[in-house]
């Protein structure tokens, strides 16, 4: 079975660390590729030529924060779901925003899951651990 890479686009280093710890605690040992800003994440996903050829035949699961320093996560979501090489990759939006319009917009753009980061640590840790458990059973298709 082809290994699934988890692309984590999260500008807050602390959040990234907490997410990684809790995913690992759920027993998920897949490679996690972290990005601190949108530009570097887009480079990875679509390659230097921007065609998305770089992600062809990869198995990717994208964890996406909406509040990024150089762009909004919505821009990345839109590009991922519009590109033929990346549109099958599941995108999990994990952000602090719980505004209903923001949530609607993400699902309209093709987000697969939208999760609001709970502030209480137990809630947060619990949510990420369950997300990890979810990852361990979900099927991620190969990109065309």
């Amino acid at each position: 079975m082809h290994p699934v890479s988890i692309v984590m686009i999260e500008d807050d280093e602390g959040h990234a660390r907490l997410i990684e710890r809790n995913i690992r605690r759920a027993g998920v040992n897949n490679e996690i590729v972290p990005f601190r800003n949108g530009t570097s994440a887009l480079d990875y996903l679509f390659g230097a030529d921007g065609t998305g050829e770089a992600s062809a035949r990869r198995h990717l699961l994208i964890l996406l924060d909406l509040n990024l320093p150089d762009m909004t996560g919505l821009d990345i979501l839109e590009k991922v779901k519009a590109n033929p090489h990346t549109r099958r990759s599941p995108v999990v939006v994990l952000t602090t925003t719980d505004d209903s319009r923001e949530i609607q917009r993400c699902y309209d753009l093709g987000a697969n899951v939208y999760i609001t980061k709970p502030v209480s640590y137990d809630g947060f840790a619990n949510a990420i651990r369950q997300l990890g458990l979810f990852f361990s059973v979900m099927q991620v298709p190969q990109n065309p």
């Binding site: 807050d12 602390g14 959040h15 907490l18 710890r21 509040n67 602090t96 925003t97 505004d99 980061k117 502030v119 209480s120 640590y121 137990d122 947060f124 840790a125």
Partner: protein, 628 residues
Amino acid sequence: MVHTGYNPALVALSIGLSIFASYTALDLGSRIRGPVAAGPRWPWITGAALAMGGGIWSMHFVGMLAFETGMPTTYDIGLTLLSLAIAVAATGAGFLWVERTGEGLGSILVAGVLMGLGVAGMHYTGMAALRIPGDLSYNRPMVALSVAIAVTAATAALWLSFHQHGVWQKLVAACVMGVAVAGMHYTGMAAATITVDEGGPHAAHAMTSVQGQQNLALYVAGATFLILFLAILASSLDQQRVQRELLASEARFRAAVQAVRGVLWTNDAEGRMLGDQPGWSAITGQTRAEYQGYGWADAVHPDDVQASIESWNATVRARQTYVHEHRVRSRDGSWRHFAIRAIPVLDARGAIREWVGVHTDITEQRQAEADLRESNEEIQRYAYIVSHDLRAPLVNVMGFTSELEATRTEIQAALRGHPEAERLDGDLAEALGFIKAAVNRMEGLIAAILKLSREGRRQFSPERLDMTNLLRDVADAQRHQTEATGATVTIAPDLPTIVADRVAVEQVFGNLLDNAVKYLDPGRPGRVTVTATAVGDRRVCFSVADNGRGIAARDHARVFELFRRSGLQDRPGDGIGLAHVKALVRSFGGRIEVRSELGVGTTFDVTLPRAPATAVQIDPEPAPIAAE
């Protein structure tokens, strides 16, 4: 058959009288159709009837005196006065008829016949008053001719009374009419033939009689001239008054236009701009040729033209006041925002004669409103972003605090047996406890700011709300708290109906009732009442009153501030409720005030509009400006 003749001087006097009387009647007659504002019409009708009827009569009488029969002539007083009365009554009836039925040709013809027959009646009654030693007979065709002249002259007089303008026209008309009236008289005289039984014996007496007749003619003429002169004087004084009022009204109008900083324009009934429009030229820079007809629409913003035309057509159909807003290209090429208000000017038959409108420049106002809206939105966005950005580090603080707690257990294990182990663990536990409590508090505050910022952005959907039912439902929802404290909540059964957003109104009064029950005085049974009073036509003040612990005067403003609370802090709460209530009340155009005395009770007065304010106000009736 007696040889008769005329005294030329008296004939001239009689014609002069006739012309002067005609002029006076025309002058007074024009007052009848004067502006409504000039006062009642009946004095002018009476005056015109007296001048015209009396003038014609005295012309006739002087004419009679000019008639020399060479015989002793006397007059029957009764018949002479009757002839005067007939003249005045007939002319009065004629003027009244026209005044009542309008100035159309048909109505003038009827009145003319009425008046002409009256004049003829006066003449022949006057002739019948003649006491001479002889027989009076008439040539029928000549009589008919005199009556025809009388009717024609009267009709012409009436027509001129109601249709002439200006002094010269009036003078010419008076001359024509005066001569016509005199012509009728002398035609009537020509129709008469006097036959005497015996001549001669009275010749000597006749001479003195002629002298007496001349004197009488002068008295009558003098008196008539005096009366006519006074009538003209009265008329000219009135004219001056009307002119003064007209000038004052024009000046007031101009001042009013300047006072509203408006641009005045006039349109015909179809919306065409005609004539000189200095105001419009001044703002748009359009020349007369450019704005003429529908050319003015070229200065209106292309995006606004269609809406303006549709709204205009609807207004014309409904005969309402035109209220609209659109942008107009000003002289310097920039678009300025204008509020328009135009009033239809109706003619006597109620048809729209023209429109008088004012364009008021509201560019600055619109700009200020837009700025205010923008800055409000900015504050809301700001609150929203800040609260989100504050949340992100909070997740870290909380997350790593929990990680530390996990580490703490490991430290406990590692330090087992160490003498300082218990103290170290205690310090760690205390520090972690404070951090967690602080983070939880901070989380609560951020959630509150978020909630407020969201309320500000919420779209209201106004609906008709029966406030008695709504408030009973709100009170029922809190029944268990109310019963737990033993308090009674009374909602007045006659609260009015308002149009507003149900959820928002429920939140406002839910909060107020909740507070009232929450902060009761344990020393006495709680009573909470909700009543309403009308504030003007458009607003209602709802008062939520309790007999609770009250709020100190220095805290009256503070209770509406976010996160602020007042008095004894013995009840759970986060200091959001009233800030939220105030934001809600303000967002639908209302206001909230508190009246309270410590230890006595608190009343919150919520003043709400009966219905949400609408941009356009429709006047139900067209402005009753009658034109002549």
